[in-house]
């Protein structure tokens, strides 16, 4: 069966482009380029987690601020680290209690 013109053309084309070997250092060079890739930035923490943390912080802050008048016991832990301008913890806070104990003061 005679070759069709398309077969002849395809044969010519294939003959002009023999398969080439990949360089032996191809993978090594690629790995080096991969090593040069920038480290993933911390800001790429999933957005929902960041949003949830922000929301929790905002709600918690409002709650402790408002909760003081309603139920001091509930907000005691949140208030524990709230210090005044001189670095003193409120007398009735957790931090205050620890400091007094450390300094040997009577509660």
């Amino acid at each position: 069966m005679a070759n069709s013109p398309q077969d002849s053309l395809d044969k010519l084309l294939k003959g002009a482009y023999p398969a080439v070997e990949v360089s032996q250092d191809f993978k090594l060079r690629l790995w080096r380029k991969l090593m040069d890739q920038p480290v993933e930035a911390l800001w790429k923490v999933p957005a929902p987690a960041v949003a949830a943390a922000l929301l929790l912080g905002i709600v918690g802050g409002i709650w402790t601020w408002q909760g003081d008048a309603k139920n001091p016991a509930l907000v005691q832990v949140a208030r524990a680290e709230r210090l005044d301008l001189f670095g003193n913890a409120p007398h009735d806070s957790l931090t205050g209690a620890v400091l007094r104990r450390m300094e040997g003061e009577n509660a």
């Binding site: 013109p5 398309q6 002849s8 053309l9 395809d10 010519l12 084309l13 294939k14 003959g15 002009a16 482009y17 023999p18 398969a19 080439v20 070997e21 990949v22 360089s23 191809f26 993978k27 060079r29 690629l30 380029k33 991969l34 890739q37």
Partner: protein
């Protein structure tokens, strides 16, 4: 591992998955790029860029998708961009100097004649418009079916057929003395 699992592994930054992808696809992608660009150095550079993009932004494959479609699509686009930036006739490797995967055992005279013919063929292919060259390379040199070429080039199968028909007609005219 199938392609879906390999891409999932790359997304998790597993070196073994990326290594496996390179083992499977480095050769085909380099050869594909070589058939567009005509020289191995550029072909390897384009291939490395293709794999870097895979690493940076792994595609979302469904379980039935083939990774090579995505790799070929990226490689073809990178080759086309490179060709647009270069002159229409990029520097081509001499076939005599090229490390081929299966060297022939022809006589020197046959080799010289074949080399001249091959150079003429490659010039003719390089002179084709980009939209005709891509389907021709993928069909005649990569032996891909029209549907797969359509996926890679993101055109319809009918468009692939039309472009192939035009590409072949042009090449037959330019390569008549060699047919």
């Amino acid at each position: 591992m199938n392609d879906f699992d390999l891409v999932a592994g790359i997304s998790r930054r597993e070196p073994e998955a990326f290594h496996e992808v390179m083992e499977r696809y480095a050769g085909p992608v380099v050869n594909l790029a070589y058939r567009f660009l005509g020289n191995r150095a550029d072909a390897e550079e384009i291939s490395q860029e293709t794999f870097l993009r895979l690493y940076q932004t792994p595609p979302r494959l469904d379980p039935s998708s083939k990774l090579f479609t995505w790799l070929y699509r990226v490689a073809v686009n990178l080759c086309m961009d490179r060709l647009r930036k270069q002159s229409r006739t990029p520097p081509m490797d001499s076939l005599e100097d090229l490390p081929v995967a299966s060297p022939s055992s022809r006589s020197p005279r046959e080799t010289a004649a074949g080399t001249e013919t091959a150079a003429a063929v490659r010039r003719a292919v390089a002179s084709l418009p980009d939209d005709l060259r891509a389907p021709l390379v993928l069909s005649a040199l990569e032996d891909l079916p029209h549907a797969e070429i359509a996926n890679i080039l993101e055109i319809s199968p009918k468009a692939v057929e039309r472009r192939l028909s035009r590409a072949r007609a042009l090449l037959k005219t330019r390569l008549q003395p060699y047919l």
